[in-house]
């Protein structure tokens, strides 16, 4: 079974709005990563947050992690049409040797 599950499965917003995607996981993790995938392309790493961190920023991206709720959120502020892509969370869990990916959130930003 998948470790991380994203919510919502799909999200459609207007350019300029903020987009929030959530990820829930099942077991204790070492870190959680967010990746982006444009249609027909490979995944690209966006940001990594460690289990002892609560929030990280990178440009227009803000990631939060709540280990008590086993959840993370990715916020994209002032979205652009170019942000249209699928976004995946990936968890590296304590005691494991592999990173497990969720099924992704498909974000569509309308110009």
């Amino acid at each position: 079974s998948q470790q991380g599950e994203e919510d919502p499965q799909a999200l459609s917003i207007q350019e300029g709005e903020n987009a929030t995607m959530n990820c829930s996981y099942k077991t204790s993790i070492n870190n959680l990563q967010w990746y982006r995938q444009n249609s027909g392309r490979g995944l690209v790493h966006l940001i990594l947050i460690r289990s002892n961190e609560r929030e990280k920023h990178s440009g227009r991206l803000r990631v939060t992690l709540d280990t008590s709720k086993k959840s993370s959120s990715l916020l994209i502020t002032a979205s652009r049409a170019a942000d249209t892509a699928s976004y995946f969370c990936a968890t590296y869990y304590t005691g494991g040797f592999k990173t497990i990916f969720g099924a992704g959130t498909r974000l569509f930003v309308k110009a």
């Binding site: 070492n30 490979g42 995944l43 990594l48 592999k98």
Partner: protein, 113 residues
């Protein structure tokens, strides 16, 4: 720097045929991975290699084999392809074996008829 390259870009294969998907990285990363991506299921790990000479099974290893003869190459072989192996296959690498950022190749789209 090319990063990770995969070949072929796409392939249509008859069921029962043998197929090797190629993956090469030029970043001298120790760890490499093979994933398959199916609609609605995200990425599932097939096999991985922590370092040259070692390999391990992922979440969905049946029907696939890998080898890691050197640091740069990590081929994935389907010994006798079946239609359920129709998917997009991604190779990835990371510096170390634990928790590192993974760098992905462009993918191979495989159709088994």
């Amino acid at each position: 720097i090319a990063g990770i390259t995969q070949a072929p870009t796409s392939q249509i294969l008859a069921a029962g045929r043998r197929m090797t998907l190629r993956c090469t990285q030029d970043m001298r990363h120790n760890a490499m991975y093979w994933y398959r991506q199916d609609l609605g299921l995200g990425l599932r790990l097939i096999h991985y290699s922590n370092t040259a000479g070692t390999t391990g099974k992922g979440e969905v290893p049946d029907g696939y084999s890998v080898s890691r003869a050197n640091t740069d190459d990590f081929p994935l072989t389907l010994a006798s392809a079946v239609p359920s192996q129709t998917s997009v296959y991604f190779c990835a690498s990371s510096e170390g074996i634990t928790a590192d950022t993974q760098y992905f190749g462009p993918g191979t789209r495989l159709t088994v008829l």
